[in-house]
């Protein structure tokens, strides 16, 4: 039922797009059919897949590194209180700084290549995941903690059975925010460092007013976003199966 509504809404959107493309000056908004044709053309000459592949490698490398590093540091900060209390000020400060501001610095240190791009993505995704993981550990149910202590359960066991599962919903929120910022930063990195990938095509088509091609890129980026967030949602459902369906 919901699927039917979603498809219906998509058709509505495409209809709206069609109407807009007919009423706004033709050069700015291509019609859905023109976009479709551009999509077929870019598939045929393989340019879309090449760019997509390049961007995905940058994105997933940066994002997965961020996930591992952020969750690890967040867990350590939450579990070993002195570490957490020492670092949290810096973590929050860094999380609040627009990390795009670091791009010139990154270029100076890492150049314009792959490493620099991955690092820009990493830097964008790492803080929300870290801050959320940290918050998740701190939000541990102290009643459950005390119950486990009273049973004489070991600290590692308490961590694995109570702290970590309790932090999962927080961590997943962090992963989601991180995924979005990571994707944004992928494009930003491709625009500001060596131009390439989907970000590169975006710039090229945008600057030369090839709007149909440009739209194909925008929609591809949206598709990546949907794919990643849906994967995370599936993961979340799997991890929360104990709650039952509701």
């Amino acid at each position: 039922m919901i699927v039917a509504f979603r498809v219906g809404f998509l058709i509505l959107l495409i209809g709206l797009w069609q109407v807009l493309s007919q009423n706004v000056s033709r050069n700015l908004i291509p019609s859905p059919l023109e976009t479709w044709a551009a999509f077929r053309r870019m598939l045929a000459d393989n340019s879309l897949f090449e760019a997509l592949g390049e961007s995905l490698v940058v994105y997933l490398s940066g994002y997965s590194t961020a996930c591992i590093v952020a969750i690890a540091i967040g867990l350590v900060m939450g579990t070993i209180r002195p570490v957490g209390k020492t670092l949290e000020v810096y973590a929050f400060a860094l999380a609040a700084t627009p990390r795009v501001a670091f791009i010139p610095l990154i270029i100076v240190f890492l150049g314009l290549g792959f490493e620099a791009k991955v690092f820009v993505v990493f830097l964008g995704a790492v803080m929300p995941i870290l801050v959320n993981t940290y918050a998740g550990v701190l939000a541990t149910d102290q009643n459950l903690n005390e119950m486990a202590r009273s049973l004489g359960v070991s600290r590692p066991r308490i961590f694995a059975s109570i702290v970590l599962p309790g932090a999962v919903p927080f961590i997943v929120v962090g992963l989601r925010i991180g995924a979005t910022i990571g994707l944004i930063n992928t494009v930003v990195a491709e625009l500001y460092t060596a131009v390439g990938g989907l970000g590169g095509l975006l710039a090229r088509y945008g600057n030369t007013f090839r709007m149909a091609d440009y739209f194909v890129i925008v929609l591809s980026l949206a598709a990546i976003g949907v794919a990643v967030t849906e994967t995370l949602r599936y993961l979340e459902l799997r991890l929360n199966r104990w709650r039952g369906p509701n």
């Binding site: 009643n143 459950l144 005390e146 119950m147 486990a148 202590r149 009273s150 049973l151 004489g152 359960v153 070991s154 066991r157 059975s161 109570i162 599962p165 104990w242 709650r243 039952g244």
Partner: protein, 289 residues
């Protein structure tokens, strides 16, 4: 198991000589420095002998839960000494704790919750499973072994918490108002079940309750606590109510009625004399101090 159980408890008096849990002049405060410091216990002393069922009865906030946490070794006293099994208390399988709220792990099944208590024991996986199974059965939740806590009613959750506390077969059982949040019918059944379990296990029980009736029904002795800073004001032996008490209507016995009246009178007096109580000074104190 009921009849045999009561018979099985043949030599309680012989075993009842040794003090197993001792609080000696215990003081405990919460909060730091002068700011917002609450003195919860002052000069609190209590002895519980092996196999004895003692209830702590006292007004809300007088430190009953704190006493249990001290006995379990979850807290250390500021003054005085807490001794369990002749030494410092350490949390673990020897001491069972039933908390005021159920404290079930929501992402574990009933079985997982009960088995969790066996984690620190040296039992094999199969033994843990078998033991958990037995106690789940005992509290009547076999059909719900694979259910998660959110699928259980309050009474069922409390039974899981009870099974979790019992599954390690502790020598001392600490119970914090375990039946306060369940309905009256379930409560009666659970009280009878607890008496059966206790009589067959021979465990020492320190039981916290607000209910005078419950205290009389279950206990060998009632330790009456005064308002904060709490301490035991009076130890009242429950006499003239032979066990097993589930085999007759305890509440209609004159001994029960008498004791009930006496306890209520004492509690009323305590509340009226407590300057911190909302009822301070109301009514006329019947007994001159």
């Amino acid at each position: 198991m009921n009849q045999e159980a009561s018979v099985g408890r043949a030599a309680p008096l012989a075993a009842k000589s040794e003090p197993q849990v001792v609080l000696d002049g215990v003081g405990k405060s919460f909060g730091t420095a002068a700011r917002a410091r609450t003195e919860v216990l002052r000069d609190m002393s209590l002895e519980v002998r092996e196999g004895e069922f003692v209830s702590l009865l006292g007004p809300s906030g007088c430190g009953k839960t704190t006493v249990l946490r001290l006995v379990d070794g979850l807290l250390a006293p500021d003054a005085g000494r807490v001794t369990v099994f002749g030494g410092d208390p350490t949390p673990g399988p020897e001491l069972g704790f039933v908390f005021q709220s159920f404290r079930l792990i929501p992402w574990f099944t009933v079985r997982g919750n009960v088995e969790f208590a066996l984690a620190p024991t040296g039992l094999s996986r199969a033994e843990k499973r078998e033991r958990a199974e037995r106690y789940i059965e005992l509290v009547g939740l076999r059909r719900f072994a694979e259910a998660h806590p959110h699928e259980l009613s309050g009474g069922m959750s409390q039974r899981v918490a009870l099974a979790r506390a019992l599954v390690t077969e502790p020598r001392v059982l600490l119970m914090d108002e375990p039946f306060a949040s369940i309905d009256a019918q379930t409560r009666e059944l659970m009280q009878a079940e607890l008496m059966r379990l206790w009589s067959s296990s021979g465990a020492t029980v320190l039981f916290v309750t607000h209910s005078v009736d419950e205290a009389i029904l279950l206990s060998d002795r009632i330790a009456l606590m005064g308002p904060r800073p709490g301490r035991v004001l009076e130890n009242i032996e429950v006499e003239g109510l032979p066990r097993p008490r589930w085999s007759y209507d305890v509440r209609s016995r004159p001994e029960f009625v008498d004791l009930r009246r006496r306890l209520w009178e004492r509690i009323r007096q305590l509340v009226l004399e407590d300057p911190e109580s909302d009822f301070f000074g109301r009514g006329t104190s019947r007994e001159a101090q």
